[in-house]
């Protein structure tokens, strides 16, 4: 597989996405909402507890909440691909540009990887922008109120550095497969939404289940996601049929 070929496809998709207002607004709106809404909710919750807790208890509680709320950014990383990745092949179909693209000397793997990369970059970028807003707001608030920084924590680093990208890759791949197999953009997004729902629940588990320490659960989850990512890439390669796309898409 030649990564340069994949990058050419990805770069073109990134350019096309930039010109698509629907995609652009989704990429701006979702991280903004998450980046602002989550810290506001967090701060409101903690301020409600401030009257009944000591300063030390409050910091402990705040750290726990910050960790739990960090997991919510997985929602952005998993939800955005249902908008962007589902568009990748169907977008080509809508513009009737898929046939000339398939006629170029690119392999299925290069094309799929390029399409995945083109969807992954804006999704992860937008998620991190939201995460950065969260990070800044939480730390500014904690410095003002506690004189200390709540972030980063080990769990936050694991979620942000490993779980979020792996979950995003999984959602991108799932949505690319759907996009290459259905005819309608809305249908692709709806199916994508349904399929990523269980993924979302699983990735939020560490913040809800208390059987194991959150950091350990995040590591276990990362391992599972990495295996699923690799498996799904090979599945998408195996199920990607140029011929079927050309002859069955009307």
């Amino acid at each position: 597989m030649r990564f340069r070929k994949s990058w050419i496809v990805a770069a073109k998709d990134l350019h096309v996405f930039r010109k698509n207002k629907y995609i652009l607004y989704s990429l701006i709106a979702m991280p903004l909402i998450m980046g602002l809404l989550i810290p506001v909710t967090l701060i409101y919750t903690l301020q409600a507890q401030a009257a009944v807790l000591t300063q030390t208890q409050l910091i402990e509680s705040a750290t726990l909440f910050v960790n739990m709320f960090s997991s919510l950014f997985v929602i952005t990383a998993v939800a955005l691909p249902t908008i962007i990745a589902s568009y990748s092949f169907i977008g080509e179909k809508l513009e009737k540009s898929l046939e000339p693209l398939l006629a170029t000397p690119t392999t299925d793997g290069e094309l799929l990887f390029g399409k995945s990369l083109g969807a992954f970059i804006p999704c992860i970028g937008a998620t991190y922008v939201g995460g950065l807003i969260f990070f800044i707001l939480v730390d500014v608030w904690s410095i003002i109120n506690f004189g200390t920084l709540l972030l980063p924590t080990v769990y936050w680093a694991l979620v942000t550095g490993i779980v979020i990208p792996l979950a995003c890759v999984l959602s991108v791949e799932a949505n690319i497969i759907i996009s290459s197999r259905v005819n309608d953009l809305r249908a692709a997004q709806q199916i994508g939404g349904i399929i990523v729902l269980p993924l979302l629940l699983v990735t939020l588990l560490p913040s809800v289940i208390q059987i194991l320490p959150m950091d350990t659960l995040a590591l276990i989850l990362s391992g599972g996601l990495a295996i699923a990512d690799i498996g799904l890439f090979y599945l998408s390669k195996a199920t990607f049929q140029r011929e079927e796309i050309l002859t069955k898409w009307k």
Binding site: K12, H15, E95, E99, P100, T104, P105, E243
Partner: protein, 306 residues
């Protein structure tokens, strides 16, 4: 350059292309004619390695379409204009070509030169920065042809290059194809447009799932559809018409104003007797001509008989 041997493609019970055997020479402009659903697009898609064949053989250059290792090589050496122009509407004319140039691995400097040359050739250089969405249908079609040429392919497959274009835009595209013909590229062109095929193509094949005829437009007109004898009379009397119809050598008679149009097996041999008959039955002959059948006649005859 292109060889098909008993090439067949089935979709379930439906045979889209049935045992097609033909050869296209290097530098030739080859027209593929046929009604809708005749298998033209399916054939081109098989030759561009977009879909697989059911049986038979197909070769482009030195490569077999069903050999996995040859498929990328074929895709690299051919240019393909699909039935739909399929441009990226939000990208500029330049960026559309640049993207494909990169995918076809055209080196940067050569790519820039090719884009400039092709956009100038199709008259779009001044509009290179306009998004494709803002171009007219004819301009888009020309841009799509330029896209198919960005890597200087040895073989060009054009699927209905002038379909849905107004006459002026169609002429521009046709003229462009004639320019390409001068460059001695092998061009395989699907078309419904018989006049276009006659004007542009060196040879023509008529397909109706099976191959029903192949040859130069002149050969097809000469061999497949017979010439007719046209006799211009002062007026056509009933006695003349009756006498002509009695002749066993006349297969069919039709009239058009004062003209008798006669279909005969061997006009060179039987015309003298025909003329004598007309004269003796009272017809005043002004002049006698032979009508050449058109490619349309040939096409309709081949398709109807298939």
């Amino acid at each position: 350059m292109i060889e098909l041997e008993n090439l067949t493609r089935k979709f379930g019970d439906l045979t889209a292309v049935d045992n097609v055997t033909l050869k296209v020479n290097k530098g030739e402009v080859f027209g593929f004619l046929g009604p809708n659903g005749a298998g033209k697009t399916t054939t081109v898609r098989m030759l561009c390695c977009l879909i697989s064949k059911t049986s038979g053989k197909a070769r482009v250059g030195d490569f077999e379409v069903d050999h996995e290792e040859d498929r990328l090589k074929i895709r690299k050496m051919v240019g393909y204009l699909s039935g739909d122009v399929g441009l990226y509407e939000n990208l500029s004319a330049y960026k559309n070509l640049d993207f494909y140039g990169k995918l076809y691995e055209v080196p940067s400097t050569e790519r820039e030169e090719n884009i400039k040359r092709l956009l100038q050739l199709v008259g779009l250089w001044e509009r290179k920065d306009d998004v494709a969405a803002g171009l007219s249908k004819g301009m888009k079609q020309k841009l799509a042809i330029a896209r198919a040429l960005i890597h200087e392919p040895q073989v060009l497959f054009l699927d209905e290059p002038t379909a849905n274009l107004d006459p002026l835009a169609a002429k521009t595209v046709r003229d462009f194809i004639l320019e390409l013909k001068k460059e001695k590229r092998t061009i395989f062109m699907n078309t419904h447009n018989l006049a276009e095929a006659e004007r542009v193509c060196d040879r023509i094949a008529v397909l109706k799932t099976k191959l029903v005829g192949v040859g130069s437009p002149e050969d097809l007109e000469r061999n497949i559809s017979r010439r007719k004898t046209v006799i211009h009379l002062e007026s056509i009397a009933d006695s003349v018409l009756a006498a002509v119809k009695k002749l066993s050598t006349v297969k069919n008679v039709s009239t058009n104003e004062n003209k008798l149009i006669l279909d005969m097996d061997n006009p060179e041999k039987d015309n003298p007797q025909l003329i004598r008959t007309i004269v003796t039955s009272g017809g005043n002959i002004q002049y006698v001509t032979a009508s050449r059948s058109t490619l349309e006649d040939v096409y309709l005859k081949l398709v109807e008989e298939a």
